[in-house]
Symmetry: C2
Subunit: 333 residues, 2 copies
């Protein structure tokens, strides 16, 4: 686990989009986001107090999180200066960059000398077990997608927020880099060795209270031929009680695969449900989450009504219209 709270390092972000990790932390774990650190020329702004390292220290910050993508995959010297100083000041560093902090010789040496942690969340830090398939206590929801990047993480985070507001016991369980940085822990599933994928999800979602819900971030799609194995490991390792089907309706083809059409919501529901019932015969599909960001309000609402009529399941865009319908359905399981 990454120690909280965080100082969000925005570096020299050229725009807000480059700082989407910082935005995710600020949106979903505002209590972790104490301040931001910006270099000259930074065009991103989270609306948080700009802090020096000394101010962040005084405010109780434990970890400096790199909340921005680095241009060209280089950790520049202007970043390094801040990162080294942060280690010297006693902060840990956390990063989801492809280039690992630990592979930067200066950062590795200073971290060792100062006894600080470098959290490279892109790769696993745990030796996961092989899945044993044993039934675990507590309840689990898995977000399954028609495609990659259709809003599975946002769906699970929206549901967690709504459930906590209702006083329900719920934990978002991150399976990707951004989710891990947002919540401070999780499994970087795409980087796990094949034999241990399902076991890593069992590890991520252990026994819990009977009325507790793990809301498991999905990855890939059973219909995305590049990553479908990762998805099936989630379906079986997660042994979900409930599935929420996630879809983005304006996509012309599967992400990165021009020759592949998207499956229908009903296809994904039926395929995922049949496979999920191998691990948990009681699994049900409870709802549909639609990413309507490319649709006007009227169009989005008409589409949601259509999906409800076609699937017989409640459908919403939880980010735009709230996760209430999905949580109602989950509460009824």
């Amino acid at each position: 686990m990454i120690e909280t709270p965080y100082l969000l390092f925005l570096g020299d972000a050229p725009d807000m989009l480059a700082a989407k990790v910082a935005q995710g932390i600020k949106d979903w774990r505002p209590e972790y986001a104490v301040g931001q650190f910006r270099l000259p020329g930074c065009k991103a702004d989270m609306g948080l107090p700009d802090m020096t390292l000394a101010e962040a220290k005084a405010a109780g910050v434990k970890t400096l999180v790199i909340g921005v993508a680095n241009r060209g995959g280089i950790v520049s010297q202007s970043w390094k200066k801040v990162l080294v100083e942060a280690l010297e000041e006693g902060f840990d560093l956390a990063s989801g960059l492809h280039n690992l902090l630990r592979d930067e010789e200066d950062l590795a040496a200073v971290a060792k000398a100062t006894g600080r942690q470098l959290h490279d969340v892109r790769i696993p830090s745990v030796k996961y077990p092989i899945a044993n398939g044993e039934k675990r206590t507590g309840k689990r929801m898995l977000a399954v997608g028609t495609d990659c990047s259709v809003g599975k993480m946002y769906t699970a985070l929206c549901m967690e927020k709504e459930m906590r507001e209702r006083g329900m016991k719920a934990s978002f369980r991150a399976t990707g880099q951004t989710g891990i940085l947002i919540t401070g822990g999780g499994v970087p599933l795409d980087a796990v060795i094949a034999d241990f994928m399902a076991g890593s999800i069992e590890y991520l979602t252990p026994d819990n209270d009977a009325d507790h819900w793990d809301l498991i971030e999905g990855q890939g799609s059973l219909y995305h031929v590049s990553y479908s194995g990762v998805t099936l490991a989630l379906v079986h390792g997660g042994q979900p009680d409930a599935l929420v089907i996630c879809h983005e309706p304006t996509r012309p083809h599967m992400r990165g695969l021009p020759g592949y059409k998207l499956p229908t919501i009903a296809q994904v529901r039926d395929t995922a449900l049949a496979l999920a019932r191998v691990a948990n015969p009681a699994c049900v599909a409870v709802g549909v989450s639609i990413n309507t960001q490319h649709m006007a309000d009227a169009e989005a609402k008409a589409y949601l009504a259509e999906v409800e009529a076609e699937t017989g399941l409640p459908a919403t865009d939880p980010f735009r219209y709230g996760a209430g319908k999905l949580v109602d359905a989950l509460a009824a399981v």
Copy 2:
């Protein structure tokens, strides 16, 4: 690729079963198996000429293959003496042991000094791409199982032998350690990083002649919750034209999972076929391979007739009764 031919190192194998890798090479690639090397007390015998290293050298051997499991996971000093001498004599070493040869400091140092290769086939030696899902030329058969260890490798190897005898173009494609040592190459799929699983199978089974068949060794099972993700990566990365369903009928539960019953052959056929058609809409199930080793002849034959009646597919035990029926069905695709 591992250079052939081989000298099979049987060490101090306590019985024949401990030398099953050597047995596999001798059974399936007899032309690679020039001789055997046994230590005092060895209880395994492949019926090959016992050779000194000098005799093996004179016979043209390129690689000493560890064809035996090591007791307690230790590469003992009595083994080391032979392995070091083999490197000094100019042989490469190949091993599927859990303990890697490269992690033995003496072997690593001698290999470096002599310029010889240490092939640890348990882990990948290639940086595989992410799967692109593009249609490849040539044809592919994938063996899919109701469970782990039901005879998928033997099924594919039996079919390859039968096809070559008929003058058909066929290549067994290994996806596990034993298969890699038998054929000299392949992908150790269970050790591949999640994101690259399907890509590793695309890499393993590239474009080929229109009338060439890749016979892809299956792994795990879509119904085995510990490894199902690995299986789905094979179904999508392999983009098979034909599936052969493999089953062992006497098993009380899924291997290693006492709480899980085996699926039926028809369930595996239907589930695998629906998923395979995402990558290759023309995929068909052509036959059933039954591992009847725990059944008497009459019982086995009655069971095969029953499977044929139930599934409408040709069924055989290819190791016991020949792979003719399966190859006939493949030839008709």
